[in-house]
Each structure stands twice: as C-alpha cells, then as structure tokens.
Amino acid sequence: MSDDSPKGMQAGDSDSRPLFVVGIGASAGGLEALREMLSAAGRDCALAFVVVQHLDPNHDSLLAELLGRHTTLDVRQANDGETVQPGTVHIIPPGHGLSISDRRLTLTDFAQPRGLRRPIDDFFESLAEDQGENAACVILSGTGADGSAGLRAIKEHGGLCVAQDPETAKYDGMPTSAQSTGLVDFVLPPEEIIDTVQQFFQKATVDGAGGQLARTVEETLGDICSVVRTTAGHDFSGYKTSTLARRVQRRIQVLDLPDATAYLHHIRTEPDECEVLFRELLINVTRFFRDAEHFDKLRRLVIEPLVESSDSEEVRVWVPGCSSGEEAYTIAMLFAEEVRLQRRSIDIQVFATDIDERMLRIARDGIYPQAALADIPEDMRDLYTVARDGTFQIASRIRDMIRFSVHSLVRDPPFSNIDLLSCRNLLIYFDEQLQAAVLPIFHYSVRPGGKLFLGPSESLSRHDHLFHPIEPQARLFERNDARPEYPLQLRNRSDHRRTWRRNADESDGKATRVAWADNTATERILETYGPATLLVTGQGEVLGSTGKLGRYLEIAPGERNTQYAASIARPGVREAISSAVRQAARTQRRTISRDLVATSDVGRQPFDLVADPLKDGTVLLVFRERGRFDPLHEDDLDDVAPGDSHVQSLEDELRSTRARLHITVEELETANEELKSSNEEMMSMNEELQSTNEELATVNDELKDKVDELSVANADLSNFFASTALPLVVLDLDRRIRNFTGAIQSIYPLRPVDRGRPLAEMTCNIEDSDKILDVIETVIETEQDQRLQIQNQAEQRTWSLFVTPYRARDQQVAGVTLVFSELTDALQLEDDLRAEGERLRLALDVAELGVWELSRDGRHIHFDHTASSLLALDADEMPLAAFLERVPEETRRDAAGILREGSTVLPFGLTFEQANGAHSERSVRMVGRRIARNQGMRTLGVIFDVTEAEEAKRVREIMLHEMNHRVKNLFSIISGMVRIAGMSAGSVRDLVDGVTARIGALARSHNLTHQAPVGTALTLGDAVRSAIEPFDGHARIDVDGPPVEVSPETLTALSLLFHELATNAAKYGVLGPAEGRLSVTWRSGDRDEIQLDWVEHYDEPTVRQHNEMTGFGSTLMQMSAAQVDGRIDIERRPDLRRTRLTYERHS
C-alpha cells in the first residue's frame, strides 16, 4: 500500500497489448477443475497460464498430456528459463517449485521436506512481484491452505484473485481458505473463471487509460468512507485520497459497475461489500527489517542503551498498525539479540496492535513464506526462525515476547509508559488532521525519554515540540519530558463513535491540553502545590493523576494499563474512594467525605476526599490534607492495624479471590499454551498428511484417467484377439499358455481352460510339433526371432511359424509369441506362378523376345538379358532419357511421347533402327502396354528383332516394282510385236503364227531366267538350245562353244534373234524343207568380242535360198543385234548358209 505510483496502469498504457499472467494453484481434485476451467478457453485467449499443482515428486506427471486433450490452448510442461506465452498453459514439473521473473519461469528446488512445501504460495508471490497489476491468481480444488498467503501478495500488488466456488470443488480446503482471507475478488465455478478474468483485464486496460472513473471515485469518496465508518466502525476519511481512490476503483472494476455512484449505491445496500472494502483498504506491504540501515541505527541508538541501562525492569515496546507482524518481530529479534550479546536478563514486552483481526491471526502464527527469510540478517535466522517446508516460523521465544491484540490507534486508549514506539508506514496513509490527532497519543504513550521510530517518509510536521529528533534520517525521535497529557477526547470518540470527528474539531479540549502541556508553571503548581488528585472513570478505573499520592495510594498509577483506584488505595482511603466515586457518578454532584485517615507503612494522614463528577462521566478525586502527617511509631503498630470493618473484610476476601482467580487464569493460560503448541504440532503433522493425501489424490486422478485409457486399449486388444484370423499363442517362460486367438484351432485345438497349461502337453495337428518346441527353446535362449515352416501332411496345409521373444515393460524376456501364417495358398500360388513364369520364359527365349519395364516413377527403364543384348547395352537398367538418346531421331519424339505420357493406356508399338555393335544396323520393335496393378500403373512390354522381316518386306516391295515394270514391258513388246508383224504378214494366219511363235520364244527365254538355279548365270548355250528346242529331231544339230555368260538384259534380244534364225531354218532351211545339218558355234574373240556362227549345211546344193533380210524377221534380227551392240553378217553358199553374230560381251 505504500506504493503510491500507479505503475501498473502506466505499464498498461505504454504496452499496446500487455501480457496478463494467470497463476493457477490446484491440488487434490484439481485435475477435474483444471479441465473444466481450461476447456472453456476460447481460441483467442491471450492470457498466459501457469499451473502449480501439488505433485508426487517421484512420478512423472501426466498432467500436460491429460489437459492437452481438453483445451485449445497450448499445454506444456514448463522448462527452466522458459518465457510465458499468451495462449499457453505452462505446467509445473514434478519435484520442483516454480518462480517467475521478467516473464521467465525458473525451476527451484524445494528446501523443505514434503508436507511443508507451499509451491503455490511461492509462485504467487514471485508472480505478484513480477507482474503486479497484470497478474491474476486462481485457487482451485485442494486440501490445506496453500495459495492463501500468495493470494495476499497478488492482491497487495494490485492483481486479481479468484477462487473456485467451494461447492463445485472436489476438495474445498484451499478455495475456502482463500475465501476466508476476504481478499478474493471472485468466487466462481471453474468454467466461468477464464471469461471473468479476461473481462476484468479488458476493463482495467480501458479504465486505466480513460481516467474518467478515477475522477468520479474521488468525488464520491467522502460518502463511501462514511458508509464504511457506519458499518465497519473504522473511519478512513482521514486516509489519503489517492490510495483510497485507487482501491475503490479496483472494486468497481471487479464488480463490473459503470461508475462510482453505482458503487456507492451498491455499498449502501450490501453490508458485505463494506467488509470487503474495509479489508481491501487495509492491505499493506510489510517486510522484516524493512530499510535495514534504519533498523541498524535503531539498534545502535535505542535498543543497545535500553538493554544496557534497564535494571531488570520491564522494557515496553508498542507497535501500532503491526499488520501481519513483521515489524514487531523485527524489533523483538533485535532486542533478543541485544540481550543475548549483553548477557542480561530483561523482561521485554512488545505490544503489537492492529485493527484487522485476520492480519493479527497471521502475525500470531508467525509463519512466513520462505522468500521473506532473505530479509532477516543471516546471524539471526538460525537463532530466531524455525524452517518449515516453503515457509519458516518465528521461534517461540520471540513470539512469546509479543502480545498481539486488536486495537485501534485512534479509537482505543493508548498504552502507556512505552520505552519505544515503532509506527512505520502507517502515518503516510493518514491525512494531516488524523496525523495531528495521533501524535499526541504517541506523546502520551511514550514515557519521558522514550523513543519514537517512524517510517522513512513520515515526519512529525507541526508536532516537533513533542519529540525531538535524535537521528533525523532514520526518523528516530526522543520524547521530551513534557507532562504527558491523557488524550481524553479519544476515549470520547470510542464512546460516541459517530460524533468523534466533530469532537476532534472542537478546540476547547485541545486548548486545555496545550495549557497543561506547555505551561511548566501550571505543571509545577499541580505537582507541588496542588492537592493530590486522581482522575477515574465512573467505575473507578484510574485515568490520570497529579500531585503526591504516595500517602493515599500504594502504587503509582500509570504502571499498569488499567488500575482501579479502590484496589491501590491505602487502608482508610479505599472505602472512601469506592463510595465517593459511586455516589458522585450516580448523582453527578460534588460530594465530600470528611475526617478520613489514610494509613500507610510510614504514618497516618488525616484528609477529606472530594469527588467532583465531570461532564464526560469521569470523576475527579481530590485529596485535601486535613492535618499534619503523623509518622508511625513501632509501638503504635497495634493501633493502626487495618480496620476490621465489614467492608474491609469483604474487600480482603475479594482481593484474595481475585488473586486466586488470577493464578487460575494464569494456570489456564499456561495449559492453554501447552495445548496450543500440541495443537500446532498436530496441525503440522496434519498438514503433512494432507499434502501427502493431496499428492495421492492427484496421482489417483491421473491413474484413473490412465486406467480408462487402458480399459479402452484392453478392449481393443480383446476384440483383436477375438476377431483376428491370425493363429497366435503367447507362452510364458515356463512354456505355459498365457493367451491365444480363436484362429489357433486349426493348429492347436485349445480351449479357454488350457490357459496356464504347458504347450508341450497339448495335442497338435502338426506332425513335427517337436520342432516347434525346439524353436521355442532357441528363442528363449537367444532372445532372437526365429522362423519355421511347418506342414500338416494330412490336410496338405503349410504354415509359416514366426516365434518372437515376448518382452515385458522392462525389456526382459517374459515368454514367447508364436504367430502362424498359413502359406498353403501362397505356396500353391507360388508354384503356379513359377510354372507360368517358366512357360513365359520359354516363349520369350524361343521368340527371342526381350522384356522391358519402366520404373514406377517413369524415370528409368529396365531390360532383361535378351533385351539388353538386342540393344547392345551393358547395363540392364538405364535412365529413360539416356535410352531415348539411343533411339534414332525420327522416332525419338514418338518414343518419348509414348513412354513418358502417363495417360496412355492402349497398347503401343514402335519400330526403330538400332546400331547393334559390330553388327550392321538392326531393326527392333518395341511393344508395350500399361497395366493397372495393385501398386499402381506399370508400363512394360517386349522388344524383338525385326531386321529380317523388314528386309523381306523391302525385297518384296522391290520385286513387286520390278514385276510391274516387266509386265508393262511385256505388254509393250507384245503390242509392238503385233504391230510390226501386222506390217508384213501376208495373211491373218501368218500374223497369228508369227506372233504366237515369237511370244513362245519370249516365254522360253523367260523360262530360262526363271528356271536357272539361283547363283548360276545363264550361258549363251542355254539361249541357243532354248531357241532350237522346238525343232529337235528335224536335223542334226551341233551346238558348241565355251561357256559365255549372258545377262538377263541381253537374253531377250539374243533369244529373239535365235528364234528368228531357227524360224527361218524351219521355214526354208535344214530344220524344214532342206536336208542338212545345223551347227551353232561361238568363240570369244579379241577385246571381249563374241563371235557366234549359225551355219546351215545343205546336203544338196540349194540355189534357191530364202530371201533373207527381208520382211519383219530380218528387221527384227537387225534390231536385236543392234540392241546387244552387235552386227549380223550373212554368208550364202550353195552348200551352206552362215549367219554370223558379233557382239561385245560386256553388255
């Protein structure tokens, strides 16, 4: 609360989108609550979450895994040094605490034993310091009270506090404890928490920027304070406005009200709100040894001398506004340390007071978070603190020095005779008027020469006449020895609460006080010359005194807090006081008791007692001396014995009863203390048990979830066992059956009762079941997988048995698993495939077909041996691109299109020339198709040599061409022949005969070329013989000559020529009418000349030889000779006729 600067708000302004961090504390039953809370988070949730859960340090936590399934947020186990991220849930890892600084998470080790750790408090405290107003804390289900202290830190730094609605929590310990601090802003079911937190921060950002709300709050602050005063009984109107306004504004945000007026209305109608605001206004920050150097000075300048100078008297210290007790313990420790060092024994009493009972409860326990230990100087830590888990407690001897009590500085009567009054950081919350009222109280309270210790930013301002500074920097002051003035008006205020402020404003009381205090003369008169006077309440309680009272009273008043005048009065005075006070208070009139004698140890004093009732209900008792003091003599002892009046004896009895009561009370208190400490011990044990219980509950939750998952997995597994067609047996290390599937029946006829029996005892449908047992032994020994093929001869079935080691979780072999896969069909299929493959191979080999196939990705092409030798390749596989390179250019595009085009499905064919190594070019044909297989499309086909087929085709085409030519030629020849014959023929018969004969000659000539064996050339002899063949037998014919080759081109011409000669001979010569013989001879002449002689020898000289060289025949002969570049010479004699053909052989 000392932090007046609105730091958080400014931070919110400068950062366009500040990160809000939500700390979540959970314990037993927290899993469920977390799940519900986080599953409500939207995708746009920009909050960062840090979950601190009490976890068993010996187990891995499944929390992140379990939560991750139920929320859109990113859930992860926190690592050391991780930065919190918006929209992320960071989860504490087991065995560590967690703290945050600069938005960075740090894993901490636990210093305390289990049971005393408070990881939630620890984290919340660091979160509060790191994030201030941007922090929120949420306390979910759990037992114990972890989180409640941390929550306070969050609140102190302006953060938001949320607790799960205890009704919805599985364990309501933690939420209830949090709620009981009165500092919780929201109590909500888990699923509403995130929404509310988001809304709050959103509103805080907007309002912080606007400032509109702040103004309206300041305007209505006075009214709000008066409502609080009426209801809660404490007036805050004297407190500083800025602080109050800020706290009120925060409440308005929490309640989601539009403005301060609405809040005023709310606080008027809701008395509870008053209580909440009251508590919230009281939050303050306090620490051990806050401003350590000031405490150093305090120790040196005040405590040391006090301890030194005190003569085994009681040293009295007052700490008003002690809050949770840190300041009081600090001072107590300083005293204890000083006493220890100086080896003295002094009774030290520290009164620590506050108006907030809850804070006092914390103070009385003396238990503080571990972090606070750092504030205590090291040498005192061991001596005065007792470590607990995550916390520490102030040692009992320090705690015994302090009395904590509810006490209002401005309302209740102050303590008196105080040696040291420490009131730090309280006055700063008060405005000037209230400060002015409080300082005189301090002055009254502190004995002359006593010290006042204030906070660093506090001062005495106008009241510096009451105290003078001894160390201004440390705010140490010494009370002057002015007469203490009892601040009566404060009492009045307590009686008339509603009007005290008005009274304080009245100046008459104040003026009187000033006169008493300032005027030493008056004081002297009162002390020395005035009558002894007592101021008592209507009940006789001593409030003040003046003058010499030793003769009337036994003890000087002021030593004790409350003393009754009657109980301290000396004999003779006591009865008078009681009745005088009673009467004066009752009648409100002055009374006087005359001729009284006060008897003391030293003598007797006659006096009158005047009782003067004052307006405020007090009574002034004035002792007026009536005669001289009569010193007591020893022999008078009997005379002055205490009166034996009835009243006197009653009083004695009362006193002894009181003393007994006092003793009894003290005894009770002692017993109570003992009980308390036993209780504390029990509580701590209980806490340990509780935290163990919480951890167990957490583990239990996690295990429950895991069991659910396992049940599902188990159900899956049973279904698998029940439904699978795979025969399977699981054996343990003793070779006993642990489990099996239903499908095992085909191998072992097992029944459910067989579980636990050795497999060896089972009947088996397999002949060589011993082999199975052997393999099982091998697997158990070697821990290696084994395969075995087994057969059922009777049924012609085959199985593959796969035996694997069965490993337990620790990887130790705990048995074996036998899996049978039936191979009967597969083997049959394999055989069939093999036979089919062989057939195909045979076909391919015989046909010399090579096989090719494209790889699946289409980038490579694969060839078998035949194909690669056809293509003269070294490798059986090559990239498609390389293959295409080898394809002749003209076909390459087609080939690429076909082989690369994925969509082509139809079979295709492709023929191309392929240089084949040493061989000449070969033609290969590649055919293929795409086939849909299980694995996708495959492109494959065959490749084969078509060189011969191509050659044959080419030859056939040439032949056809030639044939065509020849036929046409023939037509030409025949048509020419007819035409020529027509020119010379005498009759149609001659024409027909001539043409027919010549066609016959041509046919024979053609026959010659056709009949000649392949590879042998035709000779001249053949042509001659062919021509004369029709005339065989007519005459002797001699044909003789060397073999002379005749080309087909010249054959026709020669044949025609010989035909004409033969026809002539038949018509006119030796082959016809004339007797004789024919000789045909030829020889090779010079320069390749062939000379052929066709000689007809006549037996009788003939005069009339046929007219050669006339008509068509002769022309034809001449022409034919010309065609072979030859010439015809005819020699005619009576006995012979020689026709000589000379031609060049080259043609």
């Binding site: 065509n964 030519h965 020849r966 030409s972 020849i973 020419g976 022949m977 081109e1049 065609q1123 043609s1147």
Partner: protein
C-alpha cells in the same frame, strides 16, 4: 514395208530414240518414222546415246531405264539445249521425272501410237 510411202514425204525433223527392248525399239522407231520424222537410234545404252546427243533434234523419245543405267544424263544434256523430251516408260517414278524435267511429256507403256504421235506433233508444232 507399208510405210515406205511416208518415208518419201518431206521430213519433219530428227528425233533421238532411246529404248533397250528390241521389239519395242523397232515398234517405236516405226511409229516415229510413220509420223514423218527421222530417227536416230534406237540406243539401248546411255553411253551410245551420249555419243549422238549433240545432233540436231526436234524432240527426243526416251525410255527411262536403259541397259547401263538411267537415261537422265542424256535427258539432262538435251534439256539444256532446249530439246523437248518425251518419256515412255513402264516404271518411271513420275514425281522424280516431273521434278527434274517439268516440261517433259509422258507416254506410259505399252505405247499407244496415237499418243506418241500427238506428243511429237505437239512438240514439232511448238518448235
């Protein structure tokens, strides 16, 4: 010979004839002579024909394939000198010849006397 009468008529010019088939050669020769032209040839060989190619011809009747090869060298020479060409062949590749000698005429075998006569007259008239 019936056509001797025609021989006596004034000659229309000289025609070079290449043909390696004796009967066809004779037939064509007679046809050309009947049409009133003098014939040089027939030549069955390219080299023989080349010996005579520089004569004064009004036309040339050429078989494409001769005994020693294609007639094109002869045709080429004649074409250069502007002698009109008439091809008669049983197996000429029409496109090939047409490409090399765009102006040449064609008379496919078997030869029709009227066709060759018309062709000769046409070239004679042109010259």
């Amino acid at each position: 010979m019936k056509d001797t009468v025609n021989m006596e008529q004034p000659e229309r010019g000289t025609v070079l004839l290449c043909e390696d088939e004796p009967i066809v050669a004779l037939d064509v020769k007679i046809m050309i002579e009947d049409a009133g032209f003098r014939v040089v040839g027939p030549f069955a060989r390219v080299d023989k024909a080349l010996d005579e190619v520089d004569g004064d011809f009004v036309a040339a009747v050429l078989d494409v394939r001769l005994r020693d090869g294609d007639v094109f060298p002869v045709a080429e020479r004649l074409h250069k000198r502007g002698v009109p060409l008439i091809f008669h062949s049983g197996h000429i590749i029409e496109d090939d010849v047409a490409l090399r000698f765009p102006c040449a005429k064609h008379c496919p075998k078997p030869i029709d006397s009227r066709a060759i006569r018309a062709a000769l007259r046409a070239v004679a008239a042109a010259s």
